[in-house]
């Protein structure tokens, strides 16, 4: 084998090490849908957090895996052992084809080099092996084993493997399978059922990991690569030279042969005679499984697409109708009783009606309230996605919607967040995590703000009612059509510019068997993700709200105390006046529109309120009524557009559609993709919105 060598072999004498490292680093490696993250959640519980891998937008979950050993002298509990465990992105191979897979390959490589070095940080790789798809999992295991890292195998999906009628290991009980694998591989193989509350498997895994950390074992029969082999694996497969690829092909063939040999050895130990013939495991009599029967409906050419649309509609409803009352309740609670209580307390300490009260109640509390109001919708979205993922439907959704997204170079799964975006952009951004590749997640995340969320609808209703009372419905429908066109156009432009590397790749999906989602694991995942949102995006939202308050609290004209400034005399009002001339080519270069757009940056729901505030009228019940906000809008838009108020209103609606949806969406983009793409996207959105609005007005005013 070309990659055999000894460069990555353990340091001399390492095998004789008998002391446990202070903090052991454990990497969880496995293919997609093998139960890796479920195992991670079971091992770490709440002691985990997510961060992006350095220099990437690939999310990594890191946690503390703590176990309490048996005590000495017969006591129940001994000293606790803590290990740092990292849940690496699911990968079929260490020959990476995406940035996510590259993160996994790099992490394993770094650990291997660290283990081989004299002063390196010790670590163990836990390879998660799916018992239902042994051959595929063993191929990855072979690649990991070749790096020379100490490793342990965690065997999952045992309940499904035992009952699967067409699996090579069908009929083998978990312990027999684990023993057979352990004998063949020469490393510990621990059957784990992470979905079960019993701790037996997890304790066994902890013991095996600790044991391997001090007495490293190597998988027998696969050899160890040289460092030159590592140099080849550091470039993603699509970027390889043809010669390197041919070499990898030849190397893969050797591993395939090793995998077949191991599967043959293992299945020989099966008690079921139908799987004892090595030829039979490749050609089992085909029986339709429970999942096959469900797929005859959900993947049916006629029923599959309506079923997919029904699932998306349900998601849409959950994140809008279902979550809305909860959002409203939290909003009223924070702005009502909580704000009242804080005001009362500040009054008690002599700070009532001061700028401190304004900062705390109108700045900080409003910011915290905004974050809290988004919690229900985020929790609902994370829970719904978790159900779709755990049940096994998400892969099917990608398959069904593949054709629709192929022109944008996106996975079929991208359709789901894009549709959810028409309800609310924030959970839609969160839903991009279901996409398997980082570049696809980023591309989808940049398109989501172009989907017209329900908050923008309030602006359309106001302006369409005021300017086009007889065709309001048609105008609003046109806005949604423009939104779809913007998503498609934006996607095509991005694919030909900044995302030229995103290719339309062959769709080859492994469809996991359908399973009942596990509530405890689901709840843990939702809690972790909502927590990450609060910490990651919450800081940004609260910070922005404080900045807005400061802008509104500082007077620039008149004799007003800080915190008690009419909008027109505030720094905020001055900024709106400064921006208004920029908006003149779009026909809405007036202070009212500019102020509403600045407020709309915080949240689109408050644009209507901002108009009402700046025109000093109450929110209208019907914008078409004379003397109402609608009349005031018509007057000022007519004035700023030279008598083409309708065209200016259309341009304003297009601007509202195309520019930044809200500060919360911006914060979530920053959390998921980092500052650079977020700031770039913000600039492009503002410039794009302005250009579109100017085009609409200039064309509309000439018709």
């Amino acid at each position: 084998m070309s990659c055999h060598g000894s460069d990555c072999a353990p340091a001399p004498g390492r095998g004789a090490t008998t002391t446990m490292p202070a903090t052991l680093r454990v990497l969880l490696v496995g293919g997609p849908n093998v139960g890796k993250s479920t195992l991670f959640n079971a091992l770490t519980g709440a002691r985990q957090h997510t961060t992006n891998a350095p220099g990437t937008t690939v999310e990594l979950a890191t946690g503390t895996w703590r176990t309490v050993g048996p005590g000495s002298h017969g006591s129940a509990e001994g000293p606790a052992t803590e290990r740092v465990i990292v849940d690496l992105p699911g990968s079929y191979s260490l020959l990476a084809r995406s940035s996510d897979e590259q993160v996994t390959a790099d992490a394993v490589r770094e650990l291997a080099l660290s283990c081989a070095g004299p002063a390196g940080q010790p670590g163990v790789v836990v390879v998660v092996l799916d018992a239902t798809t042994l051959a595929r999992s063993l191929y990855l295991l072979a690649q990991v084993a070749q790096t020379g890292v100490p490793l342990v195998v965690a065997l999952t999906m045992l309940d499904l493997a035992e009952s699967a009628s067409d699996s090579p290991t069908a009929g083998m009980d978990p312990d027999t399978l684990a023993t057979a694998l352990s004998v063949s591989l020469g490393v510990p193989v621990v059957p784990v059922d992470a979905r079960n509350r019993t701790h037996a498997g997890r304790r066994g895994l902890a013991r095996a990991v600790d044991d391997v950390a001090v007495r490293p074992r190597r998988v027998t029969g696969v050899g160890v690569p040289t460092r030159s082999c590592w140099a080849r694996t550091s470039a993603a497969v699509p970027d390889r030279a043809a010669g390197d690829l041919a070499l990898e092909y030849a190397h893969a063939e050797i591993l395939f042969a090793w995998v077949e040999q191991v599967v043959e050895e293992v299945t020989r130990r099966a008690p079921d005679p139908t799987v004892q013939d090595p030829a039979t495991w490749q050609r089992p009599p085909h029986r339709r499984t429970f999942s096959d029967r469900i797929d005859t409906v959900l993947l049916n050419p006629w029923a599959g697409i309506p079923a997919f649309l029904a699932v998306v509609w349900l998601l849409f409803e959950l994140t809008t109708r279902f979550a809305a009352p909860l959002q409203s309740f939290i909003g009223h609670l924070v702005n009502g009783p909580v704000a009242f209580a804080v005001t009362w307390l500040l009054g008690l300490v002599g700070l009532g009606d001061s700028w401190v009260q304004g900062l705390l109640v109108d700045g900080l509390l409003v910011g915290v309230g905004t974050v809290l109001t988004f919690l229900p919708v985020m929790a609902v979205m994370f829970a719904a996605l978790g159900v779709l993922e755990d049940s096994g439907y998400l892969g099917r959704a990608a398959f069904v919607a593949d054709r629709a997204m192929r022109s944008l170079g996106l996975d079929g799964r991208a359709l789901l967040p894009l549709i959810v975006g028409f309800g609310c952009n924030l959970p839609a951004l969160a839903a991009t995590r279901t996409l398997p590749r980082a570049r696809q997640r980023l591309l989808t995340g940049l398109l989501i703000p172009l989907t017209s969320c329900s908050a923008r609808l309030t602006v359309y209703v106001l302006l369409a009612g005021a300017f086009f009372p007889h065709d309001a419905g048609t105008v609003i429908f046109m806005m949604y059509l423009v939104s779809v066109l913007l998503v498609l156009g934006g996607g095509l432009v991005l694919r030909r510019t900044a995302f030229r590397d995103v290719r339309s790749e062959p769709l080859i999906l492994v469809l996991p068997p359908y399973q009942r989602p596990h509530l405890r694991t689901l709840a843990m995942s939702v809690r972790m993700r909502v927590g990450a949102f609060v910490i990651g995006a919450g800081k940004f939202i609260v910070g922005t709200m404080l900045v807005v308050w400061v802008l509104m609290a500082l007077p620039v004209t008149g004799q007003h105390p800080v915190g008690h400034v009419p909008v027109a005399d505030s720094l905020y009002g001055r900024a709106a006046s400064g921006i208004a001339p920029v908006l003149a080519p779009a026909g809405f270069g007036n202070d009212h529109a500019a102020a509403a757009l600045i407020t709309g940056f915080v949240a689109k729901e408050v644009v209507v309120g901002s108009f009402a505030q700046s025109y000093a009228v109450a929110k209208p019940g019907d914008a078409a009524l004379p003397g109402s906000l609608g009349e005031q809008l018509r007057a000022s838009f007519d004035q700023s557009s030279g008598g083409h108020g309708g065209a200016a209103a259309l341009a304003f609606m297009v601007f509202v559609l195309a520019y930044t949806p809200c500060v919360a969406a911006l914060a979530e983009q920053r959390r998921l993709f980092g500052w650079r793409p977020t700031v770039s996207a913000l600039g492009v959105q503002l410039a794009g919105a302005w250009l579109l609005a100017v085009m609409v007005f200039q064309v509309g005013s000439r018709l």
């Binding site: 595929r136 191929y139 090579p168 092909y249 085909h286 339709r288 062959p506 999906l509 492994v510």
Partner: protein, 77 residues
């Protein structure tokens, strides 16, 4: 004969994969190689195919399935 021509329930053997080398390597790594025996379990929308290989189910889009040459296999020959 290519994969899309195979009816649901048919047992087949992969004889050639005509995908670009990097994509073919990934297909191999995932468990579909020359000589692999599979069953067609589902014809999906837009020409997509679902096949069963050693207990796993693979969904392939029409373009990919069309680049996989197969031959029929007599069950348990």
């Amino acid at each position: 004969m290519t994969l899309p021509e195979s009816p649901v329930g048919a047992q087949l053997r992969v004889t050639r994969v005509r995908l670009p080398a990097a994509d073919a390597l990934r297909l191999n790594e995932m468990g579909i190689r020359c000589g692999t025996v599979a069953h067609v379990t589902q014809h999906a929308a837009f020409g997509g195919r679902v096949i069963a290989v050693a207990g796993s189910r693979y969904a392939l889009d029409a373009g990919t399935a069309g680049l996989i040459d197969i031959e029929p296999v007599n069950p348990l020959r």
